[in-house]
Amino acid sequence: MDTSRLHRFLEKLNDYRGVIAFVVVFTLGIIFSPRALDTGLPIFLSWQTQLAILYEYSEYGLLATGMTLVILTGGIDLSVGSVLGLSAVLFSLLTIGYGWSVAPALGVVLLTGLTCGVINGSLIARFRMQPFVATLAMMTAARGAAKLVAGGIKVQPGGQPWYVMQSGTPPFFQWMTTALPGIGIQPSTLLFLLCILVMAALVRYTSYGRWLYAIGGNEEAARLSGIRVGAVKVLTYALCGMFAALAGVLNACRQDLGDTEAGMTYELDAIAAVVIGGTSLMGGRGGMMFTLIGVLIMAYINKILSLNAVELAPRMVIQGIIIAIAVLIQQKRGRS
């Protein structure tokens, strides 16, 4: 009797390993935080630092949001970093180069991301390509497209003589990255939080969400139970592409230019965030709120190391170890 209750308690605890890891990392942050020179309080705990952490990771967060959907189906999307780069360049080119207003530019960019995703999804669902291979191809192609579109340079005011904007980016760029008066949060952070909350609700409460888990759990069973597996997959990769495009817009605003190299290797950070949160790479297990926790854990680790000005080499080792531990925890859960 007692042991079974304990067992149940442990099992419950198991589901929230991500949360526990989060609390541990947060505590470490407080312990190892340098103190502010003027007030003597831990910098890590300040509202400003917490906001900066969320802000700096909003791009990764958006990528991880899309990635969670894909990973829930048992797939993977390696192209998000490149799609981010393509979108950042395209958005900058349309607004800075051609002088478009923000709304149509945003529309075109999101549509581009969506198209990349649909191509990924179609290759996987229709042509039975492995997700790893299909999105690897897209990763290469989209990066090339970003360079083509930009003409090999960073897209910024005055970058080419024919650009409409010769000095200073459109006001939208600064608006996205400046804290809103009153609440003190940047619109780009809000956008990320909004997206992940909406998707969390979608995954939890709609039939689309249930289909994701069903496909990830057992694709054949999902098909037999009448789920249109192909269509769901295409939709999922399309959403993932669209979130990557949105992250690209954020990246352009944050850097105040469109960098063809933007988002290089971000796909790995996005995957890591999803996995650290506790969503299984095998598919069918996990959830969107786990990913939010995963993103925060990554962001906190980075911020603690950065605040203490830890050198690059040990920093990378520490990050690697933490990812490995997260995966180990996952494997344990899979066995039990």
């Binding site: 340098p34 502010a36 020179l37 003027d38 910098i43 300040s46 400003q48 630092t49 900066a52 802000y55 700096e56 229709r126 042509f127 039975r128 090999g152 340079i153 960073k154 910024q156 005011p157 005055g158 970058g159 000095s167 200073g168 600064q174 990255t177 400046t178 804290a179 940047q186 990246n251 944050r254 850097q255 105040d256 960098d259 063809t260 190299e261 933007a262 980075n302 911020k303 950065s306 605040l307 000005a309 050198e311 690059l312």
Partner: protein, 318 residues
């Protein structure tokens, strides 16, 4: 359906292969009057600075379009590709090779092969080992770092708190720009209160600068090893929302026309120091070699400083 897809893919592949072949044939075919053919192997075109180098070479070569023709190859940051490119140039029988190597050691051998076959080789920016090449043209990162340090001492009146945003510290330019800077500020009361390895990347510089801003209420200047990092630091200060981007002096290196120089013009950076590409000098040297003139084995390029006062006059040589 699957078969159709494979067939289409295969057809595309054949077409592409055909196109590629035609292009190279055209490029290597001599047109009319005999021109000197120069092969240029660039280690990668992912960095704006290297794009600028090719641009400078093109620009300089276009002024001697009746004498020379340059064939550009991009090694896409792969050593083995660059090795192959040098050997392709030898096979083609080009008159001169310009190479900006990715890595010294693995490219020493191919360069030596060309040199021993009587093809002059100009090595740009990064060295190869030994002396089996015709001429090396490069800039002096230690000097640039030192000039930046001396300038900062003057700018801050000999004392102040500085953040150093380094380039990749396992790379020679990063190490030298740091070493030179320390020499430049030696003896002053300038203190480096925070430093981070930003790997030349703007997003990382932006993040690291945020940490510096969070920790230190008083920062007088930022010394960044390249202009994008300085720009990232400026954006971090602006996005902090306390107006500190107006009081902190941002200093960068590289001074590319579309990057650093423009940032100085717009008042984002206080100063930037040119890291010359040597593209123009390479073509000038190539012409001398082809005409049988003697050239020095080592050519060290100077640097220029760009500030608000001199930016419209094209900077000031140091």
């Amino acid at each position: 359906m699957k078969r159709i897809a494979i067939a289409v893919a295969f057809a595309l592949l054949v077409v592409c292969a055909g196109c590629g072949k035609k292009q190279t044939e055209q490029a290597s075919a001599p047109q009319g009057k005999k021109k000197w053919i120069i092969g240029m192997s660039q280690c990668n075109l992912g960095e704006p600075w290297r794009v600028q180098m090719n641009e400078d070479i093109k620009q300089a070569a276009s002024q001697h379009a009746d004498e020379i023709e340059v064939i550009f190859k991009d090694a896409q940051n792969k050593t083995e590709v660059q090795q192959a490119q040098v050997r392709e140039f030898i096979q083609m029988g080009v008159d001169l090779i310009i190479i900006s190597p990715k890595e010294a050691r693995p490219l020493t051998q191919p360069v030596a092969e060309a040199y021993q076959k009587g093809i002059p080789v100009i090595v740009l920016d990064r060295k190869v080992e030994g002396d089996q090449y015709t001429c090396f043209i490069g800039a002096d990162n230690v000097k640039i770092g030192r000039e930046a340090g001396k300038y900062l001492v003057k700018l801050l009146g000999g004392k102040g708190k500085v953040v150093e945003l380094k380039g990749l510290m396992t790379s020679t330019p990063g190490q030298e720009r740091h070493k030179g800077f320390m020499e430049g500020i030696a003896g002053s009361q300038i203190e480096i209160i925070f430093d981070a390895d930003c790997q030349w990347l703007e997003p990382i510089a932006q993040r690291e600068m945020q940490s510096a801003l969070a920790r230190f209420p008083q920062i007088d200047a930022v010394y960044a090893h390249n202009d994008p990092s300085a720009h990232g630091a400026y954006l971090a200060a602006r996005q902090e929302g306390k107006g500190r981007e107006k009081t902190i002096k941002f200093i960068g290196i590289d001074a590319l026309p579309h990057e650093g120089v423009r940032y100085v013009k717009e008042g984002i950076l206080t100063a930037t120091f040119e890291y010359p590409t040597g593209g123009k000098e390479a073509i000038e040297t190539a012409l001398k070699i082809l005409k049988g003139e003697q050239v020095p084995k080592n050519i060290t390029l100077g640097t220029r400083i760009f500030t608000k006062e001199n930016v419209d006059k094209g900077g000031e040589p140091l």
